[in-house]
């Protein structure tokens, strides 16, 4: 285990515990943990298990997989500006969700929204695989992702444009900001299989990404099957991003910023960065989800807004620094 991972894992645990103890019901951390694990009388065990635990679990899962997928995408494309959203899967998942809101399906039954978002993600993956199949070049994959994002974005705008009343429009806008508030265990169970599959796919790409440090030709000559590697990265990223967007909306910048921030801690090697970045992503999203509740407890600050608010200036800083390096 690298030093960064040894530092990050305890941090994730502390943040998770902190997040569990946070909420309108005023209880101490030991009390809330006891209620969570041992149960007891009164409403507290239910609050812990049905409301707070899903929120913490989703922050862990979504943050962790966004960090992992971001590191995988940057490693595969050998580009520090790559991020999981580049494939257009998150935009397509958002379109699916927006359609569910617009058609009133989400009001009819609660799980219609995430299910519809997942369907959007699956359609996007099918299109991606067809467009950027086994013989395609990396550039084709990026262009296909950009095109998919643009189409899904335009259709989302169209739905907003045609929305029958301002309430539907504002519901859509608020959903798209991304949040972990009021999520249930059902959301966890819905996302879990896709995320598990995605993590499984991405878990095997470290060696290939390390070899790709020397370029595609050198990697292929070292025994790396590049088309299989690409399929794993694309499908793995699509699984986790699709599932994450389906249950929490669009949460940007985690997959872009976290791998950047932690690259130095693993000596730049893209393989070890995968797991460090996963831990870092989980820590970042847990911290952000704590922050939205602490900073503005009664204003329902959206998680995606906060990650972008923190992420974008950081991104500017990176641009500034790389400008200095080139000069």
């Amino acid at each position: 285990m690298t030093r960064a991972l040894a530092l990050l894992l305890p941090l994730v645990l502390v943040l998770a515990a902190l997040s569990l103890s946070l909420g309108p019901a005023d209880v101490t951390l030991p009390e809330s943990l006891r209620a969570l694990f041992l149960g007891g009388d009164g409403p507290l065990p239910m609050v812990m298990r049905e409301i707070r635990l899903p929120r913490v679990l989703l922050a862990l899962m979504i943050g962790g997989t966004l960090g992992l997928a971001g590191a995988a995408m940057q490693g595969y494309l050998r580009n520090p500006l790559a991020e999981p959203g580049l494939l257009g899967v998150s935009a397509s998942a958002a379109l699916g969700a927006v359609l569910a809101i617009q058609t009133g399906l989400s009001a009819a039954f609660a799980m219609a929204l995430p299910l519809s978002a997942l369907a959007g993600a699956v359609v996007a993956v099918l299109i991606l695989v067809v467009l950027a199949g086994p013989r395609a070049e990396t550039l084709t994959l990026i262009l296909a992702g950009v095109a998919l994002s643009a189409v899904a974005g335009a259709l989302t705008q169209l739905v907003l444009n045609l929305s029958p009343n301002p309430f539907a429009a504002s519901e859509i806008v608020f959903w798209m900001m991304g949040s972990l508030a009021d999520r249930s265990v059902l959301h966890v169970w819905l996302a879990l299989p896709f995320m598990a599959l995605g993590v499984l796919l991405l878990a095997g790409v470290g060696r290939g990404l390390d070899a790709l440090t020397l370029g595609e030709d050198a990697a292929a000559s070292m025994g790396i099957d590049l088309s299989r590697l690409r399929l794993r990265v694309v499908l793995g990223t699509a699984c986790v991003v699709g599932a994450g967007t389906a249950v929490a909306g669009a949460i940007g910048f985690v997959g872009l910023v976290v791998p950047h921030l932690l690259r130095g801690s693993v000596g730049g090697r893209p393989g070890p960065l995968l797991w460090v970045s996963a831990a870092g992503g989980a820590a970042m999203l847990l911290a952000a989800d704590i922050a939205v509740r602490v900073v503005a407890p009664d204003r329902d600050l959206k998680l995606g807004v906060l990650t972008a608010l923190v992420g974008a200036p950081f991104f500017l800083h990176l641009v500034w620094r790389s400008r200095g390096e080139r000069a």
């Binding site: 050998r78 060696r207 390390d210 070899a211 790709l212 440090t213 020397l214 370029g215 030709d217 050198a218 292929a220 000559s221 070292m222 025994g223 790396i224 099957d225 690259r263 000596g267 730049g268 090697r269 893209p270």
Partner: protein
Amino acid sequence: MSLLSLQDLAVTLRGREVFSGITLNIHAQEVVGLIGPNGAGKTSLMRAALGLIPSGGKSSLAGLTPQQRAKAVAWMPQAREIAWPVRVEDLVALGRLPHGDHAPAPVEAAITKMGLEGLRKRRSTNLSGGEQARALLARALAQETPLLMADEPTAGLDPAHQIATMEVFGALAAEGHGVLLSLHDIGLAARHCTRLVLLAGGRLLADGRPEEVLTDDLLARGFGITAYHAQTPDGPVFQPMHRAR
């Protein structure tokens, strides 16, 4: 022993035949220089031999599984690509990837052989072009393969580094490895290769000792040049002089 055997190899890229009918064997203890004008297909020949691009005919390496091939040949593409700021010692250790081990001995040996001891902790992206070339060659050495293939390994290097690089290939051959290089510098090829292969006009024009290949006639036909040549106690000297009329 033949480390690479090509039979009637042919490559067609985007409908254009690059070359055909290439039959060639590379043996242990040889440094074979692949020479020819721009666009003759030197890079394509090596990539086809490795099985990295589709080709007609037969290559003994292309038939292997990717894992077997990675233990049979180390390949250095011309583009010296290093995507991330990895430390030099980590870059060299990538050579162990096909073996699935982290054996320190071959990595240390490669670092020593390429004189990288003082640079081992440095970020490889911060090195000079010559230092990067040495680090990438060390990576290929750490792969410990019987055959080493390199595309323009001396391009962009100063004369001292060119000679040092060619001497590493010579030492490898003396240890029993086989080496296949594409080279643009005919003088360097004549001086350091045990055998030259001239590729021009989509055909293998000549294959033999440097003095057999670098004749006035073949230089005129292959490169369209005339050259000054002389025998010195240190070996043959070739200096391209004029374009052939």
